[in-house]
């Protein structure tokens, strides 16, 4: 288990502010955020490349903040993998074991184990220069896992791979994490990638952690406008709340909420229902289909009900541009956020 409390750091270009994060034993956590949010810097603080200005990092209850990188036993796979170019694949994997002054037979057994687990026996005598992106990644994982680290940090491990390989490697990472029962922290800037691998997701922005939760929690209850936008709540509007309903332009949306005055309303495009034209009731609006687009796994239509809405469904919509339809926005699917 890793616990970070009140971590502050200043690296000139990057500042970390009041980072509080707990990752449980055997948990796969993704740190997600836009470029420049400070994700990589946070990882570098955990590895021990820099000393924080304030705050502590504890692993299994032990305060590792004052320890040097080499004393922490934290696995680290940087974005460019940084395989040692002067050593073969097998020597790269045994590097950490040799530092621990183990007996040679024991090192050989552990390396063979790791090579078999990652299915890279065919490249064991090759130099890193002659490996493909996927192979490099496996070797980097093997090298980091060989020493049985307390936590494994992966800094954008899939970003150097092509699209098809990325999904495959994401599954493999997940499988590997379950097999070794390890605690993994995986940094990425892609929401799909994070949802593919992680048990929980920590959203980071401007040097601090904004929200931590499961995919479902974050999608259903984003904490602020930034998170809502980041997890692709495409329908976001400024409105005025009176506590029981919100006025957006000419439209009034029923939703109990604790705010009075200016608010932001976020509605996920998959949470808007298309209903029969005779349908009546709360939050039912008539609208005009303004556009339609077929995407790989879903279809998306734009509807104007006085407010411009995007609605997506897994099946192809039977409507065309210019059709008049009715939609329903169930109040439980409306997220109201205080405007800052």
């Amino acid at each position: 288990m890793i616990e970070i409390t009140g971590l502050y750091g200043d690296l000139g270009e990057f500042h970390l502010r009041d980072i509080n994060l707990t990752v449980n034993e055997g948990e796969y956590l993704a740190i997600l955020g836009p470029t420049g949010a400070g994700k990589t810097v946070l990882v570098e603080y955990i590895v021990g490349l820099y000393k924080p200005d304030r705050g502590t990092i504890r692993v299994d209850g032990e305060d590792i903040t004052p320890l040097y990188t080499e004393e922490r036993n934290i696995g680290y796979v940087p974005q460019d993998y940084a395989l040692f170019p002067n050593l073969t694949v097998a020597r790269n994997i045994s590097y950490g074991l040799e530092a621990r002054r183990m007996r040679q037979e024991q090192i050989n057994d552990l390396v063979d184990d790791m090579i078999a687990r990652l299915k890279i026996d065919y490249i064991r005598h090759r130099m890193p220069l002659h490996l493909s992106g996927g192979e490099k990644q496996r070797v980097a994982l093997g090298r980091a896992l060989a020493t049985d680290p307390r936590v494994l940090l992966l800094d954008e491990p899939l970003s150097a791979l092509d699209e098809n390989l990325r999904t495959e490697m994401a599954k493999e990472l997940r499988r590997l994490q379950r097999a070794v029962k390890g605690t993994f922290i995986h940094v990425c800037h892609n929401f799909e990638e994070a949802s593919d691998v992680a048990d929980r997701i920590a959203i980071m922005n401007e040097g601090t952690i904004v929200q931590v939760g499961t995919l479902k929690e974050i999608m259903e209850a984003p904490k602020n406008e930034f998170v809502a936008r980041f997890v692709k709540s495409q329908n976001m509007f400024d409105g005025v709340s009176d506590g029981s309903s919100i006025r957006i332009g000419q439209t009034s949306l029923v939703k109990e909420n604790p705010f009075k005055g200016d608010v932001i309303v976020a509605i996920r495009p998959e949470n808007i229902m298309i209903v029969e034209t005779e349908h009546k009731g709360q939050n039912v609006f008539a609208g005009l289909v303004e556009g339609k687009q077929l995407k790989p796994y879903f279809s998306e239509i734009s509807i104007n009900t006085g407010i411009p809405l995007v609605v997506i469904s897994q099946k192809e919509h039977p409507y065309d541009t210019g059709d008049n339809i009715k939609i329903k926005i169930p109040p439980e699917n409306v997220v109201v956020l205080q405007k800052l």
Binding site: V47, T69, Y76, A82, F84, Y95, R143
Partner: protein, 306 residues
């Protein structure tokens, strides 16, 4: 593609043609009886004036000044090689760790340090020499030398080592720093995350990756030290005309008495009219320099020198 290749072929032809011409021409100058080309009445008169070198006069009119028969030549070569080896050793022992520190740590006002060392490289040796004289012959360092009872300036050791060290160190440092800059610090960081100490990470990862650059730096420092002329001349002067009583018995034992730094000897010989001897000494320096650069190319450290 073929146009590019043709252009390169033309370039190679011209380049090697020119280089070949230069080599053959210098070989011709050296091998043909250069004596006849340069020995004029005036030169002979100059030689007459320098009658202090009685024993030299016979060999002076021989091929290339008969330098190989002259103990002064072998003593000078001995002195230069030994001194430049000491200089290179000191430059490497101090410079390699310094270059590593400069490359890895953020140092405030780093630009200032870099400007200082880079401007040293473009300084003429005479400027370095005069700065060394002012530094050692005045002020606290002068008092220190008086207290200790010996002189830095105009001494074989440490005078020559100090004079040749300045530029040798500056040039070596820039090569070593470039070598370490070329090694991604990420390698060391990962090595340390795997439990390696700083020293093991340096020894097993950074050092092997920077190896050719480091060796290039050592050879550069050595050739630069050997090529030093004006700083040595300014700071130490010449020793040949000094009476034997000025040299310690140890200096005589290691055959460095009445000897000069080879490049200084080249100048001294030409100055005294013995051009062939000077040219022969220059040829020796060319051979040593050329061999050193060839070794650099063989170890794959091209690019550090042209």
């Amino acid at each position: 593609m073929s146009g590019k290749r043709k252009g390169r072929k033309t370039f190679h032809t011209i380049f090697y043609g020119f280089a070949g011409f230069l080599f053959l021409y210098s070989a011709y100058l050296f091998l043909s009886n250069v004596d006849q080309l340069f020995v004029t009445e005036a030169a002979i008169e100059t030689r007459e004036i320098t009658s202090v070198w009685d024993q030299d006069r016979e060999i002076m009119n021989q091929f290339a000044g008969g330098f190989w028969k002259d103990p002064y030549f072998w003593k000078s070569l001995n002195l230069t090689v030994v001194t430049t080896l000491i200089t290179t050793l000191i430059a490497s022992l101090v410079g390699i760790p310094t270059a590593y520190a400069l490359s890895r740590h953020r140092i405030p006002r780093m630009a200032l340090v870099e400007v200082l060392f880079s401007s040293l490289i473009v300084m003429p040796g005479s400027v370095i020499g005069i700065c060394l004289i002012v530094m050692f012959n005045y002020g606290p360092l002068w008092k220190l030398q008086n207290a200790m009872g010996f002189r830095f300036a105009h001494s074989l050791f440490p005078g020559m080592v100090i004079a040749s060290l300045v530029l040798s160190f500056a040039l070596g440092l820039s090569a070593w720093k470039a070598a370490f800059d070329n090694v991604n610090p990420r390698f060391e960081q990962v090595a340390r995350s795997l439990g390696s100490s700083r020293w093991r990470a340096f020894r097993t990862v950074t050092l092997p990756l920077a190896k050719s650059g480091i060796i290039a730096g050592i050879i550069l420092a050595w050739t630069r030290a050997m090529a030093e002329f004006s700083a040595v001349l300014f700071f130490c002067g010449t020793f040949r005309e000094l009476p034997p009583s000025r040299f310690s018995s140890f200096t005589k034992l290691i055959h460095m008495d009445q000897a000069d730094w080879v490049s200084v000897a080249v100048w001294a010989q030409v100055e005294f009219g013995n051009i062939e001897y000077g040219f022969a000494l220059a040829f020796v320096l060319v051979v040593i320099g050329g061999l050193s650069v060839y070794v650099m190319h063989r170890i794959g450290a091209k690019g550090y020198v042209w």
